[in-house]
């Protein structure tokens, strides 16, 4: 009797093991092909889009040391489809493995398609899809997305998911591109009050780009030479209500990033005009954004007034004029110069966005909400319209935490 009981229990345990494999959802790595990048273009056919998939081979690079397979790390396919969800199945006509969006890292959209009013309706499918994670990035490419993936041949990072992860992460940290995840894109678009910035990228270098001041480039304009990959991530595309309306350079993007408290920009290096005499007119500073801005608004009256106080920390990275910073006078000159430079640059950009794009390129309206008791009052205030009349004042609070390796005498 006892034996039977034990046997029964053992059988039960064995039965329980079966559903562990995931029932119908059993999946094997061998059998899967993960889409890392998804490209969206306008198709020549009416009502269709051109979908490009960058597929990663999970077998490559998964093994430490030798013994890895000789298969290619990636595969790129493009075809016309009605939307990118159904395209998953269509792609199986070409790809031998089961296609999954589970590890989708980046959606690249061509500028041409991003300006299409239909674009938001197409991309909104990502919310409905059960596999796409909303932390995938949205990037806008100058050329067609199908071309972009073909041209993009990273030399150091052959595995595509690592390449995009590092490229985007470091770009965001340096402030050259905005943190444009799908989640933030949908959040901003559904709020419908402010502009949204999506990162700009290009795999085709311009033929003879001009050399400009530090970081003042659009994607594809940075003139680099040598043995390299042509892809560049710099600058951003401006979206209004889910439709692209303009572009910002790398420098302008980093200005927006210091204003925006919802991104986690860590620190970046910029050049500012040197206030000291000397032949070299620029000096390098490392900017650290550690505290949040304080925003005060005066929303009564026909022209709302917005005061932004921006606490920033600086490190002096170069000292071409060999200034002695142990003197208080020199330190004060530098501080005043930094404050002036940041004030003018920030206000200039905000005015430009206000005039040209009729909005603010980061969720500033969030800070306005506390001045209203109910949603109806806020709606009545009509942020998008009132903001166009607003006067904006930016006040950087400069703290220089390090004057570099130069002379550090008393008084530092």
């Amino acid at each position: 009797m006892r034996k039977t009981k034990t046997v029964c229990k053992m059988l039960l345990i064995l039965m329980i093991v079966c559903p562990l494999a995931g029932c119908w959802d059993r999946g094997e790595l061998e059998d899967k092909s993960y889409v890392i990048g998804l490209g969206l273009d306008r198709s020549k056919r009416e009502g269709k889009i051109k979908v490009t998939m960058l597929l990663a081979n999970p077998e490559v690079g998964s093994m430490q040391g030798g013994g890895g397979s000789t298969e290619k790390p990636r595969e790129v396919i493009s075809f016309d489809a009605i939307d990118f969800i159904a395209a998953k199945v269509t792609a199986n006509a070409i790809v031998s493995r089961k296609i999954s969006y589970d590890l989708l890292k980046i959606i690249v959209v061509s500028e041409e398609f991003a300006k299409d009013p239909e674009f938001f309706r197409i991309i909104y499918d990502a919310v409905y899809d059960k596999e796409i994670r909303l932390n995938a990035y949205l990037a806008i490419s100058k050329e067609k997305a199908s071309q972009y993936f073909l041209k993009n041949h990273p030399r150091m990072e052959t595995r595509p998911h690592k390449y995009y992860q590092y490229m985007v992460e470091h770009g965001i940290e340096n402030g050259l591109i905005p943190d444009s995840t799908l989640f933030r894109f949908f959040k901003a678009t559904e709020r419908g009050k402010d502009l949204f910035l999506a990162m700009n990228t290009s795999a085709i270098r311009e033929k003879k780009p001009k050399i400009r001041a530090e970081d003042n480039y659009y994607a594809g304009q940075l003139n680099a030479s040598g043995e390299l990959d042509d892809t560049q991530f710099i600058g951003s595309a401006v979206f209004k209500n889910g439709k692209m309306i303009g572009k910002l350079t790398g420098q302008e993007t980093s200005i927006v990033n210091t204003l925006d408290d919802t991104t986690n920009i860590s620190d970046f290096i910029i050049d500012i005009p040197s206030p000291f005499p000397g032949t070299i007119k620029q000096m390098a500073l490392r900017v650290m954004k550690e505290e949040d801005n304080t925003v005060k608004m005066n929303l009564k009256g026909p022209r709302p007034k917005i005061f932004i106080t921006m606490p920033l920390k600086f490190e002096v990275m170069s000292n071409p004029s060999e200034v002695d910073f142990s003197k208080k006078k020199n330190r004060d000159i530098l501080k005043a110069q930094i404050a002036r430079h940041f004030k003018t640059e920030h206000e200039k950009l905000l005015r430009k966005a206000q005039k040209k794009y009729k909005g603010v390129p980061y969720p500033l309206s969030l800070d306005a909400q506390k001045y209203f008791a109910t949603n109806q009052e806020f709606k009545k205030f009509n942020w998008t319209k009132s903001y166009q009349q607003a006067e904006i004042y930016v006040k950087p609070v400069v703290k220089i935490v390090d004057y570099g390796k130069g002379p550090k005498k008393e008084g530092k």
């Binding site: 994670r133 992460e169 933030r184 559904e190 969030l366």
Partner: protein, 369 residues
């Protein structure tokens, strides 16, 4: 009774109550509340708790007159045999439909986010089978398991919400009154169902050493749950802002989004594993309570043998709706809108009956004597 049933400890009871009622923050409640009162959704659970406090307090006070008697025994005593049976039947029908549609919702969540191709029937059957097995073991076992996991469930919830604050904007809950104070107050009575579980939990009184202990446990769990749900909704509103209205199950979208740095990017399975344990305990306790009600209603002593068959019936009812939309939009909301006020009304009626019959005076006299 063949033997004296083991007693249920106060901590086990609190664990069950927290798992049963607290789970609401992780399903569709935040989204449905957001659709009604937008960014003030986090206030509703607290207001509803304050509102439901009155009937619950009166109910517990009435129950304390009858030491060691459960809700149905009290009802039979106060309302008489026939009326008591009728009210009991209403409670049974409401809680039965609630458990069917709630468990269906959980199955939908599992299928939508984790097992996309597995048929609903299979997932649902496994869920119900596990719950039936657990419930058959008895409430003491359910209690000890829930005490074991409640810490982890709460920890994982807090952990997930803390991780989400990296990308959330606190300002989203402002303007502070959302669509207006009136609108919030109007929504609160409809959301009483959040706390309906506490009403059903009064069935467990006989398993306690004394009524006092039961009351103490109920109040601790009640306060904890109301704060937990409200805080969770607060975080979810901050995280999703306006896009919360278009989402079915925000908590699961949230755990798919968050990550632990770049090296551990996709961590939803960790939260899912703990969440599903909590969900199983929730339905196990719920199933047990329903079987208990059924047993009381039709005077079946060994009601634990009924559990498998009752569970099967719930499974079949839960399978009727064709799609998740139908469950949530029509059936579940109707049941919810009905359950809260109904249970509150029953509590009030019981208290009134006790008052009219002079039970309170009676008890006082007894004590003074």
């Amino acid at each position: 009774m063949k033997q004296q049933p083991e007693k249920l400890g106060i901590r086990e009871y609190i664990a069950i109550a927290i798992l049963m009622a607290g789970a609401r923050a992780t399903e569709d409640t935040p989204a449905t509340l957001f659709q009604k009162v937008e960014n003030a959704a986090w206030m509703v659970p607290i207001l509803s708790a304050a509102l439901f406090f009155i009937p619950l307090y009166l109910l517990l006070k009435t129950m304390s007159l009858f030491q060691g008697k459960n809700l149905f025994a009290v009802m039979n005593k106060l309302l008489g045999k026939y009326l008591g049976f009728a009210v009991g039947l209403i409670i049974f029908v409401i809680s039965s439909s609630a458990i069917s549609f709630d468990s269906r919702t959980y199955t939908n969540i599992i299928r939508t986010y984790y097992f996309n191709t597995t048929p609903i029937l299979v997932l649902y059957a496994i869920l119900i089978a596990i719950c039936a097995y657990g419930a058959k073991k008895g409430i003491q076992h359910v209690g000890s398991v829930s005490f074991m996991i409640v810490f982890w469930v709460i920890c994982s919830l807090i952990f997930a919400l803390l991780l989400s604050t990296q990308d959330s904007t606190f300002q989203s809950v402002l303007p502070i009154w959302g669509p207006g104070i009136l609108e919030i107050i109007k929504t609160s009575p409809g959301s009483l169902a959040i706390y309906a579980d506490f009403f059903l939990l009064t069935m467990l009184v006989p398993y306690f050493k004394s009524n006092k202990e039961f009351q103490k446990g109920t109040w601790i769990a009640y306060i904890f749950v109301s704060i937990q749900i409200s805080a969770a909704i607060f975080c979810i509103v901050c995280f999703f802002d306006q896009s919360l209205g278009g989402l079915g199950y925000p908590f699961h979208t949230l755990i798919r989004y968050i990550s632990l740095g770049t090296y551990i990017p996709n961590i939803e399975i960790f939260f899912f594993a703990i969440w599903i344990m909590g969900a199983i305990i929730r339905f196990t306790a719920f199933l047990y309570l329903n079987a208990l009600i059924f047993g009381q209603l039709f005077k079946i002593k060994d009601f634990e043998y009924l559990i498998p068959s009752i569970a099967t019936i719930y499974l079949l009812i839960g399978l009727i709706p064709e799609s998740p939309i139908e469950t949530i939009v029509h059936l579940k909301l109707t049941v919810r809108a009905l359950a809260g006020p109904m249970f509150a009304a029953i509590s009030l009626i019981l208290w009134l009956a006790a008052l009219v019959k002079g039970e309170f005076k009676h008890a006082k006299n007894k004590n003074s004597m």
